[in-house]
Amino acid sequence: MRAAAAALTLPPYEVHFMIVLRNFLQAFVLLLGMASAALAGPYEEALLKFTNDSYADTDAAIAAVAVSGNPLAVDVVEALRDGRLLVGLEHVFVRRTSGDLINAATGQTWGNPTGELKSVRVNNRVRRAIEAALGSLTLLSPDAARRLEAARAVFRSRDEAALPALEKAIAQEGHVPVRNALETARAAILLSKQDALHTQKLAAVETLRDRGDQEALALLSNLPSHAPLEVMSAAGKAAEGIRARLAFWQAFQNVWYGISLGSVLLLAAIGLAITFGTMGVINMAHGEMVMLGAYTTFMVQEVIRSYFPGLFGASLLIALPLAFLVAGSVGVLIERAVIRFLYGRPLETLLATWGISLILQQGVRTIFGPTNREVGTPAWMSGALDIGAMSLTYNRIAIVLFAFSVFAILLLVLRYTSLGLYVRAVTQNRRMAGSMGIRTSRIDALAFGLGSGVAGIAGVALSQIDNVSPNLGQSYIIDSFMVVVFGGVGNLWGTLVGAMTLGIANKMLEPHAGAVLGKIALLIAIIVFIQRRPRGLFALKGRAVEA
């Protein structure tokens, strides 16, 4: 019988001969099977086809077993899938996972079979049939998750044979999501089924339109050619509706991505805005402060993994203050050791901090190695929230919320604490602030520490969405500059507006121009923008500006 499979490559007359031979043998075996089984129902008949060692017969047998309604059917098909369905002695056996052998026809345990048993072979076509059959067989499973999975399997396979089982399942189904999935699967089958009624097909189109996702759209826009005209036009309209709906949600999704990117930029740039604002110096090592924060998170998680595995869920919360301290103290150190000697020479400060950034990068590379470090995500941050056709991952939501809280806290610190008052005074007019008794150099160090510490906190958040490597800071530094330059250094609101504008503009451009072109366009736009407003959106006004 294996010849039947091989027949595809043979000349036509031989194929004909093979088919005759096959049919003959089939009838013969069937007769034999009937003779041996006293009560031969459709299930038992179908089982015997497994003994033929022919893919085509196995295929047919699976379909027949699946619709037979026999309680053993699931076991048989699963056994076939796992290579545990054995044939021999004109009987079919299922070897249980426990090792026992049972007779597939009766379910009785079979002692020691004499003679050799062979497992039924499967190929890809058979595997597809198995999946489809299991789909329809498990539609009635008591487990809702399993039923849902089965409904999806049927939706994918669109196996017409599953239709009766599907109808039955829909009639019994009480769980709404499963019922929806079942109905979608039925609609999918009806649409591709040649002899389904028009009304059925139109109802199916309706169902799919209500489902309204990418899969339904694919189904509706690729109807088989035999579909009647009115169904075609209904499907076309439905597809149009789904496209419009998806485009609508896509716009929201893009805005969300934009806000999410904007929050990341906000986190990275807000510390820079503080140091740039107060001292007028560009801290090129700012990105490395972000990197230090990310590596602090990594260290915290390593310690927790080895000593307090129960605390892993809180690892990020523990890392936050530590990252602030680590990056903040490195920042104060840099200010005291280097930057304070360079006041009034912003270009030299830029070069010196660039040098510091190289040293920090290489230092981290020497200690931790050049490869990416794995920072885990706590369980409460994984998963996603689905709204309509949008999917918002929890870690992105957490970062957006976190960025806004950091922004709010900084705003409050600058507004209501004495440190904030002094920082604002120094930002507006350094010499005047000095003559009022503010120790400007101490404020500089503190502001630098604050800005660096916030960068460290940003590193904790970025460790969740980016690779933690020595180059982490480099990838954010130019974007952060753009945000600060665009927003201006007058106040923090400029940074917020700058970050959100750039984030959303970037993500809105991306689908139309591609990621790289979109980014280039944005950079050019900023370069042009700065011609119009050389000091950003929210510039400081007054005589201090020209200082």
Partner: protein
Amino acid sequence: MRTQSLFDRQTTVVLSLLAAAAILVPAMNGLALPGSALHLSDHLVPLLGKYVCFALLALSVDLIWGFCGILSLGHGAFFALGGYAMGMYLMRQIGARGVYSDPVLPDFMVFLNWKELPWFWYGFDWLPFAALMVLLVPGTLAFVFGWFAFRSRVTGVYFSIITQAMTFALMLAFFRNDMGLGGNNGLTDFKEILGFPVQAGSTRIALFVLSVLALAGGYLLCRWVVGSTFGKVLVAVRDAESRTRFLGYRVEHYKLAVFTLSAMLAGVAGALYVPQVGIINPSEFAPANSIEVVIWVAVGGRGTLAGAILGALLVNAGKTWFTAALPEFWLFALGGLFVFVTLFMPRGILGAANDLWERSSQKLRARRSPQPVTQAAE
């Protein structure tokens, strides 16, 4: 007056050193026997040529930073654009000897299944045209960019940051295959220049001598510019931009002119660099490269011209040595150099040497002068 005479002496020293290099390097490579202490091995010639090109690039940065106070963190972009113009000429010279043997299209275009040469490649099979583009492309970009920036008085760190954004945007653009300039592999596999094989020892010597001549020419040009009235205005802009403007000078015109000139010099440096290293790719646009150029200038001595050359040669020789001997420590050394120079040697090596010279000669005068003074008092 004394500084003027020092400049003259400096010019003589620089030109004679360059002349010595142009004579000694070919002689040591070609005439001295292999194995003798004087012999310069073949692989060192393009390496030295590369340093000379970097020195020209540093010179162009010193011209605007040292004399006009414009800190460009995107000069690598002009260098790379000049390099690409030369690379396009060299690509066209490959002809049918590429892997795919297409007589017109470079290999990467055949690979991308392009059917005809994009319009911007026309003319690059002719060296004079390519040479013109080496000057015009960076020059035009600098002119347009500078016109916008200087007109609206973008200065200081803001200007530095947008030049950095410019080179970053160009890097992203050149990484795209659709640019028609080789994507991230860039242009490479060059065969010959003006009919001479690029890899041959004699061609390399010729390219080296040419680079030294270009450096000498660039040096003289910069010297002439900064010594002229125009140069005096530049220095005035550097030291007190607003005051110069109030005195009636159109500051933006001066800045634009010197910025464009500097970009063209950088383009020439890039054009000479490409045939000697044999490749040009988008990583030349990386912002970090442009910042490195600035440190060469700072090390040698900002605003001295000769210092830029010295700094470029020293830092690059150091880089070659470090990356071979202690690759781990190169970034430590470079970063430390940035910090050390800005903190302790704000005027660079030449500036420090100059100070030392001034101080010792002052002492000398002080030792000699008391007698005349006392005589006068008597």
